[in-house]
Protein backbone atom coordinates (compact mmCIF):
# COMPACT_ATOMS: atom_id res chain seq x y z
CA UNK A 1 0.00 0.00 0.00
CA UNK A 2 2.90 2.29 0.73
CA UNK A 3 4.69 1.70 -2.54
CA UNK A 4 4.42 4.69 -4.81
CA UNK A 5 4.00 2.61 -7.89
CA UNK A 6 2.93 -0.97 -8.10
CA UNK A 7 4.68 -2.76 -10.88
CA UNK A 8 2.93 -5.63 -12.50
CA UNK A 9 5.38 -7.90 -14.19
CA UNK A 10 2.67 -9.77 -16.08
CA UNK A 11 2.90 -6.88 -18.56
CA UNK A 12 6.18 -8.37 -19.79
CA UNK A 13 4.39 -11.56 -20.66
CA UNK A 14 2.07 -9.72 -23.02
CA UNK A 15 4.72 -7.64 -24.74
CA UNK A 16 7.14 -10.57 -24.93
CA UNK A 17 6.37 -11.38 -28.59
CA UNK A 18 7.26 -7.84 -29.61
CA UNK A 19 10.41 -7.76 -27.45
CA UNK A 20 11.67 -10.96 -29.12
CA UNK A 21 10.66 -9.69 -32.53
CA UNK A 22 12.38 -6.38 -31.96
CA UNK A 23 15.61 -8.01 -30.81
CA UNK A 24 15.77 -10.80 -33.40
CA UNK A 25 14.18 -9.17 -36.43
CA UNK A 26 15.05 -5.51 -36.02
CA UNK A 27 17.91 -4.72 -33.64
CA UNK A 28 20.26 -7.60 -34.50
CA UNK A 29 19.66 -7.14 -38.26
CA UNK A 30 20.32 -3.42 -37.92
CA UNK A 31 23.66 -4.08 -36.20
CA UNK A 32 24.51 -6.82 -38.68
CA UNK A 33 23.77 -4.68 -41.67
CA UNK A 34 26.06 -2.00 -40.25
CA UNK A 35 28.81 -4.58 -39.82
CA UNK A 36 28.24 -6.10 -43.28
CA UNK A 37 28.57 -2.67 -44.84
CA UNK A 38 32.29 -2.73 -43.98
CA UNK A 39 32.84 -6.19 -45.46
CA UNK A 40 33.00 -8.07 -48.66
CA UNK A 41 30.24 -10.63 -48.36
CA UNK A 42 29.22 -12.88 -51.20
CA UNK A 43 26.23 -14.80 -49.95
CA UNK A 44 27.98 -18.18 -49.81
CA UNK A 45 31.17 -17.16 -48.02
CA UNK A 46 31.55 -15.39 -44.72
CA UNK A 47 31.99 -11.62 -44.45
CA UNK A 48 35.56 -10.33 -44.92
CA UNK A 49 36.44 -7.01 -43.33
CA UNK A 50 37.27 -4.32 -45.88
CA UNK A 51 37.19 -1.14 -43.87
CA UNK A 52 35.64 1.74 -45.74
CA UNK A 53 36.23 0.23 -49.19
CA UNK A 54 32.52 -0.24 -50.01
CA UNK A 55 31.68 3.35 -49.16
CA UNK A 56 34.72 4.61 -51.03
CA UNK A 57 33.72 2.68 -54.11
CA UNK A 58 30.12 3.89 -53.92
CA UNK A 59 31.10 7.53 -53.72
CA UNK A 60 34.04 7.55 -56.10
CA UNK A 61 33.67 4.71 -58.58
CA UNK A 62 29.98 3.94 -59.02
CA UNK A 63 28.22 6.19 -61.54
CA UNK A 64 24.98 4.21 -61.20
CA UNK A 65 24.84 5.30 -57.55
CA UNK A 66 24.68 8.97 -58.52
CA UNK A 67 22.23 8.28 -61.32
CA UNK A 68 19.97 6.31 -58.98
CA UNK A 69 20.24 8.93 -56.27
CA UNK A 70 19.27 11.66 -58.72
CA UNK A 71 16.28 9.67 -60.01
CA UNK A 72 15.16 8.93 -56.45
CA UNK A 73 15.34 12.59 -55.43
CA UNK A 74 13.35 13.64 -58.49
CA UNK A 75 10.79 10.95 -57.75
CA UNK A 76 10.38 12.00 -54.12
CA UNK A 77 10.19 15.66 -55.13
CA UNK A 78 7.52 15.01 -57.77
CA UNK A 79 5.40 12.32 -56.20
CA UNK A 80 5.23 13.31 -52.53
CA UNK A 81 4.16 17.00 -52.83
CA UNK A 82 1.73 16.19 -55.64
CA UNK A 83 0.16 13.39 -53.66
CA UNK A 84 -0.19 15.41 -50.47
CA UNK A 85 -1.33 18.57 -52.26
CA UNK A 86 -3.94 16.66 -54.17
CA UNK A 87 -5.12 14.84 -51.05
CA UNK A 88 -5.50 18.17 -49.26
CA UNK A 89 -7.37 19.81 -52.13
CA UNK A 90 -9.86 16.96 -52.49
CA UNK A 91 -10.36 16.72 -48.73
CA UNK A 92 -11.25 20.42 -48.59
CA UNK A 93 -13.71 20.10 -51.46
CA UNK A 94 -15.29 17.03 -49.86
CA UNK A 95 -15.56 18.82 -46.54
CA UNK A 96 -18.12 21.28 -47.92
CA UNK A 97 -21.52 19.83 -47.27
CA UNK A 98 -21.31 17.52 -50.26
CA UNK A 99 -24.04 14.96 -50.87
CA UNK A 100 -22.76 11.46 -51.52
CA UNK A 101 -19.52 12.17 -49.70
CA UNK A 102 -19.31 8.52 -48.64
CA UNK A 103 -19.41 7.36 -52.23
CA UNK A 104 -16.73 9.80 -53.39
CA UNK A 105 -14.56 8.98 -50.40
CA UNK A 106 -14.78 5.26 -51.15
CA UNK A 107 -14.08 5.71 -54.88
CA UNK A 108 -11.03 7.85 -54.18
CA UNK A 109 -9.77 5.44 -51.57
CA UNK A 110 -9.93 2.26 -53.67
CA UNK A 111 -6.65 2.95 -55.53
CA UNK A 112 -4.88 3.14 -52.17
CA UNK A 113 -5.93 -0.42 -51.40
CA UNK A 114 -4.60 -1.70 -54.71
CA UNK A 115 -1.81 0.71 -55.56
CA UNK A 116 1.20 -1.27 -54.44
CA UNK A 117 0.20 -4.45 -56.20
CA UNK A 118 1.74 -6.00 -59.27
CA UNK A 119 -1.69 -6.07 -60.91
CA UNK A 120 -1.81 -2.27 -60.92
CA UNK A 121 1.71 -1.99 -62.29
CA UNK A 122 0.78 -4.38 -65.09
CA UNK A 123 -2.34 -2.36 -65.77
CA UNK A 124 -0.30 0.84 -65.84
CA UNK A 125 2.05 -0.66 -68.38
CA UNK A 126 -0.85 -1.52 -70.66
CA UNK A 127 -2.53 1.85 -70.24
CA UNK A 128 0.58 3.84 -71.05
CA UNK A 129 2.28 1.72 -73.69
CA UNK A 130 2.67 3.23 -77.14
CA UNK A 131 -0.49 1.78 -78.59
CA UNK A 132 -2.17 1.77 -75.19
CA UNK A 133 -5.44 3.33 -74.15
CA UNK A 134 -4.10 6.67 -72.97
CA UNK A 135 -2.55 7.35 -76.36
CA UNK A 136 -5.77 6.23 -78.04
CA UNK A 137 -7.72 8.70 -75.95
CA UNK A 138 -5.24 11.45 -76.79
CA UNK A 139 -5.51 10.73 -80.51
CA UNK A 140 -9.32 10.99 -80.42
CA UNK A 141 -8.93 14.55 -79.13
CA UNK A 142 -6.26 15.24 -81.72
CA UNK A 143 -3.09 15.00 -79.64
CA UNK A 144 -0.28 12.89 -80.99
CA UNK A 145 0.98 9.80 -79.22
CA UNK A 146 3.34 10.33 -76.29
CA UNK A 147 6.07 7.84 -75.48
CA UNK A 148 5.07 7.55 -71.83
CA UNK A 149 7.38 4.70 -70.92
CA UNK A 150 10.11 4.92 -73.57
CA UNK A 151 11.11 8.55 -73.26
CA UNK A 152 13.71 8.98 -70.49
CA UNK A 153 12.44 12.42 -69.56
CA UNK A 154 8.81 11.30 -69.22
CA UNK A 155 9.02 7.77 -67.82
CA UNK A 156 9.64 8.85 -64.22
CA UNK A 157 6.54 11.06 -64.39
CA UNK A 158 4.47 8.11 -65.58
CA UNK A 159 5.74 6.04 -62.64
CA UNK A 160 4.99 8.90 -60.23
CA UNK A 161 1.39 8.92 -61.46
CA UNK A 162 0.87 5.50 -59.86
CA UNK A 163 1.89 7.05 -56.55
CA UNK A 164 -0.20 10.18 -56.90
CA UNK A 165 -3.17 8.04 -57.92
CA UNK A 166 -3.06 6.60 -54.38
CA UNK A 167 -3.75 9.91 -52.65
CA UNK A 168 -6.79 8.41 -50.90
CA UNK A 169 -5.13 7.37 -47.65
CA UNK A 170 -3.67 10.85 -47.06
CA UNK A 171 -7.03 12.35 -48.02
CA UNK A 172 -8.78 10.35 -45.28
CA UNK A 173 -6.36 11.73 -42.68
CA UNK A 174 -6.98 15.28 -43.87
CA UNK A 175 -10.75 14.75 -43.82
CA UNK A 176 -10.55 13.54 -40.23
CA UNK A 177 -8.49 16.62 -39.37
CA UNK A 178 -10.90 19.01 -41.09
CA UNK A 179 -13.75 17.63 -39.00
CA UNK A 180 -11.87 18.70 -35.86
CA UNK A 181 -11.69 22.39 -36.81
CA UNK A 182 -14.40 24.22 -34.85
CA UNK A 183 -16.92 26.01 -37.07
CA UNK A 184 -16.65 29.07 -34.80
CA UNK A 185 -13.13 29.69 -36.18
CA UNK A 186 -14.53 30.04 -39.68
CA UNK A 187 -17.45 32.19 -38.57
CA UNK A 188 -15.19 34.58 -36.71
CA UNK A 189 -12.99 34.96 -39.79
CA UNK A 190 -15.97 35.56 -42.03
CA UNK A 191 -17.28 38.27 -39.73
CA UNK A 192 -13.86 39.88 -40.01
CA UNK A 193 -14.43 39.87 -43.76
CA UNK A 194 -11.83 37.25 -44.71
CA UNK A 195 -12.15 35.78 -48.20
CA UNK A 196 -11.94 32.11 -49.14
CA UNK A 197 -8.21 32.25 -49.80
CA UNK A 198 -7.44 34.03 -46.57
CA UNK A 199 -9.55 31.57 -44.61
CA UNK A 200 -7.63 28.73 -46.22
CA UNK A 201 -4.20 30.15 -45.45
CA UNK A 202 -4.97 31.56 -42.03
CA UNK A 203 -7.27 28.94 -40.57
CA UNK A 204 -7.54 25.69 -42.51
CA UNK A 205 -3.88 25.20 -43.36
CA UNK A 206 -2.46 26.05 -39.91
CA UNK A 207 -5.03 23.80 -38.22
CA UNK A 208 -4.13 20.95 -40.55
CA UNK A 209 -0.39 21.49 -40.35
CA UNK A 210 0.31 18.63 -37.89
CA UNK A 211 -1.39 16.24 -40.32
CA UNK A 212 0.55 17.72 -43.23
CA UNK A 213 3.73 17.07 -41.27
CA UNK A 214 2.77 13.49 -40.47
CA UNK A 215 1.85 12.79 -44.10
CA UNK A 216 4.99 14.44 -45.39
CA UNK A 217 7.29 12.35 -43.21
CA UNK A 218 5.55 9.02 -43.75
CA UNK A 219 5.16 9.52 -47.51
CA UNK A 220 8.77 10.60 -47.81
CA UNK A 221 10.07 7.54 -45.97
CA UNK A 222 7.98 5.33 -48.23
CA UNK A 223 8.83 7.12 -51.47
CA UNK A 224 12.58 6.87 -50.85
CA UNK A 225 12.15 3.09 -50.74
CA UNK A 226 9.60 2.55 -53.51
CA UNK A 227 10.19 -0.43 -55.69
CA UNK A 228 7.29 -2.30 -57.25
CA UNK A 229 6.00 0.05 -59.94
CA UNK A 230 9.42 1.01 -61.31
CA UNK A 231 10.54 -2.61 -61.23
CA UNK A 232 7.49 -4.02 -63.01
CA UNK A 233 6.60 -1.20 -65.40
CA UNK A 234 9.97 -0.01 -66.69
CA UNK A 235 12.60 -2.23 -65.00
CA UNK A 236 14.41 0.98 -64.15
CA UNK A 237 14.73 2.00 -67.81
CA UNK A 238 14.87 3.62 -70.29
CA UNK A 239 18.52 4.60 -69.80
CA UNK A 240 18.13 4.10 -66.04
CA UNK A 241 15.76 7.07 -65.92
CA UNK A 242 13.49 5.23 -63.45
CA UNK A 243 16.25 3.35 -61.63
CA UNK A 244 15.03 4.09 -58.11
CA UNK A 245 17.27 3.42 -55.12
CA UNK A 246 15.24 0.36 -54.21
CA UNK A 247 15.99 -1.17 -57.60
CA UNK A 248 19.70 -0.57 -57.21
CA UNK A 249 19.64 -2.18 -53.76
CA UNK A 250 17.76 -5.16 -55.13
CA UNK A 251 20.23 -5.57 -58.01
CA UNK A 252 23.31 -5.38 -55.81
CA UNK A 253 21.90 -7.58 -53.05
CA UNK A 254 19.71 -10.12 -54.76
CA UNK A 255 20.93 -10.22 -58.35
CA UNK A 256 24.69 -9.94 -57.82
CA UNK A 257 24.53 -11.13 -54.18
CA UNK A 258 27.01 -8.49 -53.04
CA UNK A 259 25.62 -8.37 -49.53
CA UNK A 260 28.32 -6.11 -48.13
CA UNK A 261 28.07 -3.55 -50.88
CA UNK A 262 24.26 -3.58 -50.74
CA UNK A 263 24.35 -3.10 -46.96
CA UNK A 264 26.54 -0.04 -47.41
CA UNK A 265 24.03 1.29 -49.95
CA UNK A 266 21.18 0.65 -47.54
CA UNK A 267 22.96 2.57 -44.76
CA UNK A 268 23.50 5.53 -47.05
CA UNK A 269 19.78 5.51 -47.82
CA UNK A 270 19.02 5.24 -44.10
CA UNK A 271 21.16 8.30 -43.38
CA UNK A 272 19.50 10.23 -46.23
CA UNK A 273 16.03 9.38 -44.93
CA UNK A 274 17.03 10.28 -41.37
CA UNK A 275 18.48 13.57 -42.58
CA UNK A 276 15.40 14.60 -44.51
CA UNK A 277 12.91 13.50 -41.86
CA UNK A 278 14.79 15.36 -39.14
CA UNK A 279 15.10 18.44 -41.37
CA UNK A 280 11.36 18.30 -41.92
CA UNK A 281 10.76 17.95 -38.19
CA UNK A 282 13.09 20.87 -37.49
CA UNK A 283 11.49 23.13 -40.04
CA UNK A 284 8.08 22.18 -38.68
CA UNK A 285 8.66 24.36 -35.62
CA UNK A 286 8.12 27.35 -37.85
CA UNK A 287 5.12 26.11 -39.78
CA UNK A 288 3.29 23.51 -37.72
CA UNK A 289 0.65 24.99 -35.49
CA UNK A 290 -0.48 22.96 -32.49
CA UNK A 291 -3.92 23.93 -31.24
CA UNK A 292 -4.28 26.15 -28.19
CA UNK A 293 -5.82 23.27 -26.31
CA UNK A 294 -2.58 21.30 -26.43
Amino acid sequence: MLSRKRFNYTGYLYILPWVLGFLLLQLVPLINSFWYSFTQFQLLGSPKFLGLANYKKIFTADPTFYQSLKVTFYYVLIAVPLKIGFALLIAIILNQKIKGINLFRTLYYIPSILGGSVAISVLWKYLFMNKGVINNILSTVGIGAIDWLGNPSIALGTISLVTVWQFGSSMLLFLAGLKQIPISHYEAARIDGAGTMRIFFQITLPELSPIVLFNLIMQMINAFQDFTSAFVITQGGPLKSTYLYGLMLYDQGFKFFKMGYASALSWILFVIILFFSSMTFRSSESWVHYGDSL
Binding site: Q26, V28, N32, G116, Y250
Partner: protein, 281 residues
Protein backbone atom coordinates in the same frame (compact mmCIF):
# COMPACT_ATOMS: atom_id res chain seq x y z
CA UNK B 1 -26.28 36.98 -54.50
CA UNK B 2 -24.46 34.93 -51.93
CA UNK B 3 -26.80 32.03 -52.46
CA UNK B 4 -26.29 32.09 -56.20
CA UNK B 5 -22.53 32.11 -56.03
CA UNK B 6 -22.48 29.28 -53.51
CA UNK B 7 -24.80 27.31 -55.77
CA UNK B 8 -22.50 27.68 -58.77
CA UNK B 9 -19.46 26.86 -56.69
CA UNK B 10 -21.26 23.75 -55.42
CA UNK B 11 -22.06 22.76 -59.00
CA UNK B 12 -18.44 23.25 -60.01
CA UNK B 13 -17.37 21.13 -57.04
CA UNK B 14 -19.75 18.32 -58.00
CA UNK B 15 -18.66 18.45 -61.61
CA UNK B 16 -15.02 18.27 -60.56
CA UNK B 17 -15.63 15.45 -58.07
CA UNK B 18 -17.52 13.37 -60.60
CA UNK B 19 -14.93 13.84 -63.33
CA UNK B 20 -12.19 13.02 -60.86
CA UNK B 21 -14.01 9.91 -59.66
CA UNK B 22 -14.26 8.76 -63.26
CA UNK B 23 -10.56 9.40 -63.89
CA UNK B 24 -9.63 7.56 -60.69
CA UNK B 25 -11.75 4.54 -61.43
CA UNK B 26 -11.31 4.48 -65.21
CA UNK B 27 -8.17 2.29 -65.11
CA UNK B 28 -10.03 -0.31 -63.05
CA UNK B 29 -13.14 -0.21 -65.23
CA UNK B 30 -10.93 -0.54 -68.28
CA UNK B 31 -9.26 -3.55 -66.68
CA UNK B 32 -12.63 -5.22 -66.11
CA UNK B 33 -13.72 -4.49 -69.69
CA UNK B 34 -10.39 -5.61 -71.14
CA UNK B 35 -10.71 -9.03 -69.50
CA UNK B 36 -13.71 -9.65 -71.74
CA UNK B 37 -12.27 -8.13 -74.90
CA UNK B 38 -10.43 -9.79 -77.72
CA UNK B 39 -6.81 -8.73 -77.98
CA UNK B 40 -7.43 -6.71 -81.11
CA UNK B 41 -10.22 -4.77 -79.48
CA UNK B 42 -8.24 -4.19 -76.33
CA UNK B 43 -5.81 -1.75 -77.87
CA UNK B 44 -7.75 -0.36 -80.77
CA UNK B 45 -10.50 1.29 -78.75
CA UNK B 46 -10.97 3.54 -75.74
CA UNK B 47 -14.41 2.30 -74.66
CA UNK B 48 -14.82 0.28 -71.52
CA UNK B 49 -17.51 -2.17 -72.58
CA UNK B 50 -16.45 -4.93 -74.96
CA UNK B 51 -18.41 -5.14 -78.24
CA UNK B 52 -18.52 -8.91 -78.32
CA UNK B 53 -17.61 -10.15 -74.88
CA UNK B 54 -15.36 -13.20 -74.88
CA UNK B 55 -14.98 -15.30 -71.78
CA UNK B 56 -11.99 -17.44 -72.70
CA UNK B 57 -9.43 -15.26 -70.95
CA UNK B 58 -10.48 -16.31 -67.46
CA UNK B 59 -10.36 -20.05 -67.95
CA UNK B 60 -7.18 -19.89 -70.04
CA UNK B 61 -5.38 -17.85 -67.39
CA UNK B 62 -6.80 -19.89 -64.56
CA UNK B 63 -5.37 -23.14 -65.84
CA UNK B 64 -2.18 -21.51 -67.09
CA UNK B 65 -0.05 -22.57 -69.98
CA UNK B 66 2.77 -24.19 -68.07
CA UNK B 67 2.67 -26.53 -65.14
CA UNK B 68 1.08 -24.05 -62.80
CA UNK B 69 -1.93 -21.85 -63.33
CA UNK B 70 -3.56 -19.09 -61.40
CA UNK B 71 -5.49 -21.51 -59.21
CA UNK B 72 -2.15 -22.52 -57.66
CA UNK B 73 -0.96 -18.92 -57.23
CA UNK B 74 -4.20 -17.89 -55.60
CA UNK B 75 -4.15 -20.82 -53.18
CA UNK B 76 -0.52 -20.01 -52.32
CA UNK B 77 -1.37 -16.40 -51.61
CA UNK B 78 -4.04 -17.45 -49.13
CA UNK B 79 -1.64 -19.94 -47.51
CA UNK B 80 0.78 -17.08 -46.99
CA UNK B 81 -1.61 -14.24 -46.15
CA UNK B 82 -4.16 -15.90 -43.84
CA UNK B 83 -1.73 -17.12 -41.14
CA UNK B 84 0.17 -13.84 -41.33
CA UNK B 85 -3.02 -11.86 -40.77
CA UNK B 86 -4.29 -14.09 -37.94
CA UNK B 87 -0.97 -13.99 -36.05
CA UNK B 88 -0.67 -10.24 -36.56
CA UNK B 89 -4.11 -9.76 -35.03
CA UNK B 90 -3.25 -11.97 -32.03
CA UNK B 91 0.19 -10.49 -31.36
CA UNK B 92 -0.97 -6.89 -31.76
CA UNK B 93 -3.81 -7.46 -29.27
CA UNK B 94 -1.42 -8.99 -26.71
CA UNK B 95 1.25 -6.32 -27.13
CA UNK B 96 -1.32 -3.52 -27.18
CA UNK B 97 -2.92 -4.84 -23.98
CA UNK B 98 0.49 -5.17 -22.32
CA UNK B 99 1.50 -1.60 -23.04
CA UNK B 100 -1.89 -0.05 -22.36
CA UNK B 101 -2.84 -1.78 -19.11
CA UNK B 102 0.28 -2.71 -17.14
CA UNK B 103 2.97 -0.76 -15.38
CA UNK B 104 6.35 -2.41 -15.51
CA UNK B 105 9.95 -1.24 -15.28
CA UNK B 106 11.29 0.25 -18.54
CA UNK B 107 7.82 0.52 -20.00
CA UNK B 108 8.34 4.07 -21.26
CA UNK B 109 11.67 3.48 -23.02
CA UNK B 110 10.35 0.25 -24.53
CA UNK B 111 7.28 2.03 -25.84
CA UNK B 112 9.48 4.79 -27.23
CA UNK B 113 11.62 2.19 -29.01
CA UNK B 114 8.52 0.64 -30.52
CA UNK B 115 7.36 4.03 -31.75
CA UNK B 116 10.70 4.82 -33.32
CA UNK B 117 10.76 1.52 -35.20
CA UNK B 118 7.65 2.84 -36.98
CA UNK B 119 10.06 5.04 -38.89
CA UNK B 120 12.82 2.48 -39.42
CA UNK B 121 13.13 2.00 -43.19
CA UNK B 122 12.55 -1.65 -44.08
CA UNK B 123 15.32 -1.58 -46.68
CA UNK B 124 18.03 -1.22 -44.03
CA UNK B 125 17.31 -4.59 -42.48
CA UNK B 126 16.23 -6.51 -45.55
CA UNK B 127 19.68 -7.98 -46.26
CA UNK B 128 20.58 -9.24 -42.77
CA UNK B 129 17.04 -10.59 -42.38
CA UNK B 130 17.41 -12.47 -45.63
CA UNK B 131 20.73 -13.96 -44.47
CA UNK B 132 19.21 -14.84 -41.09
CA UNK B 133 16.24 -16.63 -42.66
CA UNK B 134 18.53 -18.36 -45.13
CA UNK B 135 20.65 -19.76 -42.27
CA UNK B 136 17.48 -21.05 -40.63
CA UNK B 137 16.56 -22.76 -43.90
CA UNK B 138 13.41 -20.72 -44.32
CA UNK B 139 13.95 -19.55 -47.88
CA UNK B 140 11.22 -20.61 -50.27
CA UNK B 141 8.74 -21.04 -47.41
CA UNK B 142 6.16 -18.62 -46.03
CA UNK B 143 7.86 -18.51 -42.62
CA UNK B 144 9.61 -15.17 -43.34
CA UNK B 145 6.10 -13.70 -43.43
CA UNK B 146 4.41 -15.70 -40.67
CA UNK B 147 7.10 -15.62 -37.98
CA UNK B 148 7.44 -11.80 -37.93
CA UNK B 149 3.65 -11.72 -37.50
CA UNK B 150 3.85 -14.08 -34.50
CA UNK B 151 6.60 -11.90 -33.01
CA UNK B 152 4.58 -8.69 -33.37
CA UNK B 153 7.11 -7.11 -35.72
CA UNK B 154 4.59 -4.71 -37.21
CA UNK B 155 4.81 -1.74 -34.84
CA UNK B 156 2.02 0.08 -36.66
CA UNK B 157 -0.56 -2.48 -35.54
CA UNK B 158 0.81 -2.74 -32.02
CA UNK B 159 0.54 1.01 -31.72
CA UNK B 160 -3.00 1.01 -33.11
CA UNK B 161 -4.09 -1.53 -30.47
CA UNK B 162 -2.35 0.37 -27.65
CA UNK B 163 -4.30 3.47 -28.63
CA UNK B 164 -7.51 1.51 -28.81
CA UNK B 165 -7.10 -0.15 -25.40
CA UNK B 166 -6.28 3.22 -23.86
CA UNK B 167 -9.65 4.43 -25.06
CA UNK B 168 -11.51 1.67 -23.18
CA UNK B 169 -12.51 2.57 -19.61
CA UNK B 170 -10.32 1.00 -16.89
CA UNK B 171 -13.48 0.33 -14.86
CA UNK B 172 -14.09 -2.70 -17.08
CA UNK B 173 -10.81 -4.26 -15.94
CA UNK B 174 -11.50 -3.37 -12.32
CA UNK B 175 -14.92 -4.96 -12.30
CA UNK B 176 -13.32 -8.06 -13.79
CA UNK B 177 -10.72 -8.11 -11.02
CA UNK B 178 -13.47 -7.89 -8.40
CA UNK B 179 -15.08 -10.91 -9.98
CA UNK B 180 -11.79 -12.74 -9.58
CA UNK B 181 -10.75 -12.79 -13.23
CA UNK B 182 -7.05 -12.94 -14.04
CA UNK B 183 -5.58 -10.52 -16.54
CA UNK B 184 -5.92 -12.91 -19.45
CA UNK B 185 -9.59 -13.66 -18.74
CA UNK B 186 -10.23 -9.93 -18.51
CA UNK B 187 -8.70 -9.53 -21.96
CA UNK B 188 -10.45 -12.53 -23.46
CA UNK B 189 -13.93 -12.16 -22.00
CA UNK B 190 -14.36 -8.47 -21.25
CA UNK B 191 -12.13 -6.39 -23.53
CA UNK B 192 -11.90 -8.46 -26.69
CA UNK B 193 -15.60 -8.15 -27.58
CA UNK B 194 -15.17 -4.36 -27.48
CA UNK B 195 -12.15 -4.45 -29.78
CA UNK B 196 -13.97 -5.79 -32.80
CA UNK B 197 -13.64 -2.70 -34.96
CA UNK B 198 -9.95 -2.21 -34.15
CA UNK B 199 -9.20 -5.87 -34.85
CA UNK B 200 -11.04 -5.64 -38.15
CA UNK B 201 -8.89 -2.67 -39.12
CA UNK B 202 -5.74 -4.64 -38.32
CA UNK B 203 -7.04 -7.56 -40.36
CA UNK B 204 -7.95 -5.48 -43.40
CA UNK B 205 -4.74 -3.48 -43.48
CA UNK B 206 -2.47 -6.46 -42.92
CA UNK B 207 -4.38 -8.55 -45.45
CA UNK B 208 -4.09 -5.89 -48.11
CA UNK B 209 -0.42 -5.15 -47.41
CA UNK B 210 0.66 -8.78 -47.36
CA UNK B 211 -1.48 -9.58 -50.38
CA UNK B 212 0.12 -6.74 -52.39
CA UNK B 213 3.64 -7.27 -51.09
CA UNK B 214 6.04 -7.77 -53.96
CA UNK B 215 9.63 -7.10 -52.88
CA UNK B 216 9.58 -9.66 -50.06
CA UNK B 217 7.97 -12.44 -52.05
CA UNK B 218 10.41 -11.72 -54.86
CA UNK B 219 13.28 -12.22 -52.46
CA UNK B 220 12.01 -15.14 -50.41
CA UNK B 221 9.96 -17.31 -52.76
CA UNK B 222 11.87 -18.92 -55.59
CA UNK B 223 9.99 -22.01 -56.78
CA UNK B 224 7.07 -21.46 -59.13
CA UNK B 225 5.03 -24.06 -57.25
CA UNK B 226 5.00 -21.70 -54.26
CA UNK B 227 4.48 -18.44 -56.16
CA UNK B 228 1.80 -16.10 -54.80
CA UNK B 229 -0.26 -14.07 -57.30
CA UNK B 230 2.19 -11.15 -57.34
CA UNK B 231 4.99 -13.34 -58.70
CA UNK B 232 2.70 -15.44 -60.86
CA UNK B 233 1.34 -12.34 -62.51
CA UNK B 234 4.74 -10.92 -63.27
CA UNK B 235 5.95 -14.24 -64.65
CA UNK B 236 2.89 -14.51 -66.88
CA UNK B 237 3.47 -10.96 -68.09
CA UNK B 238 7.12 -11.64 -68.88
CA UNK B 239 6.47 -14.76 -70.92
CA UNK B 240 3.31 -13.52 -72.60
CA UNK B 241 2.99 -12.58 -76.23
CA UNK B 242 0.66 -10.01 -77.69
CA UNK B 243 -1.97 -12.66 -78.03
CA UNK B 244 -2.84 -13.19 -74.41
CA UNK B 245 -2.99 -9.73 -72.98
CA UNK B 246 -6.65 -10.17 -72.15
CA UNK B 247 -5.65 -13.21 -70.08
CA UNK B 248 -3.27 -11.10 -68.04
CA UNK B 249 -5.95 -8.47 -67.48
CA UNK B 250 -8.37 -11.20 -66.39
CA UNK B 251 -5.83 -12.58 -63.92
CA UNK B 252 -4.97 -9.10 -62.64
CA UNK B 253 -8.65 -8.56 -62.05
CA UNK B 254 -8.95 -11.81 -60.08
CA UNK B 255 -5.88 -10.94 -58.04
CA UNK B 256 -7.25 -7.59 -56.87
CA UNK B 257 -10.71 -8.95 -56.04
CA UNK B 258 -10.06 -10.46 -52.57
CA UNK B 259 -8.63 -7.23 -51.06
CA UNK B 260 -11.51 -5.22 -52.52
CA UNK B 261 -14.15 -7.63 -51.21
CA UNK B 262 -12.57 -7.59 -47.77
CA UNK B 263 -12.42 -3.80 -47.77
CA UNK B 264 -16.10 -3.44 -48.59
CA UNK B 265 -17.11 -6.16 -46.16
CA UNK B 266 -15.25 -4.50 -43.30
CA UNK B 267 -16.05 -0.89 -44.19
CA UNK B 268 -18.91 -0.88 -41.69
CA UNK B 269 -16.46 -1.63 -38.86
CA UNK B 270 -14.13 1.16 -39.95
CA UNK B 271 -16.99 3.61 -39.71
CA UNK B 272 -18.04 2.11 -36.37
CA UNK B 273 -14.47 2.46 -35.12
CA UNK B 274 -14.37 6.12 -36.07
CA UNK B 275 -17.80 6.70 -34.54
CA UNK B 276 -16.92 5.09 -31.18
CA UNK B 277 -13.62 6.93 -30.81
CA UNK B 278 -15.43 10.14 -31.75
CA UNK B 279 -18.04 9.55 -29.05
CA UNK B 280 -15.37 9.13 -26.40
CA UNK B 281 -14.09 12.66 -26.82
Amino acid sequence: MIKKSSLTSKLISYFFLIVLAYVMIYPLLWMIGASFKTNQEMFGTVGILPKDPVFGAFSAGWHGTGQYGFSTFLTNTFLMVVPTVIFTAISSVLVGYGFARFDFPLKKPLFFIMLSTLMLPATVIIIPRYIFFKRLGWLDTYLPFIVPAILGSFPFFNFMMVQFFRGLPVEIDESGKLDGCNSFTILKDLLLPLCKSAIFSVIVFQFVWTWNDFLNVLIYISSVAKYPVALGLRMTMDISTEFDWNQIMAMSLISITPPIILFFAAQKYFVEGIATTGMKN
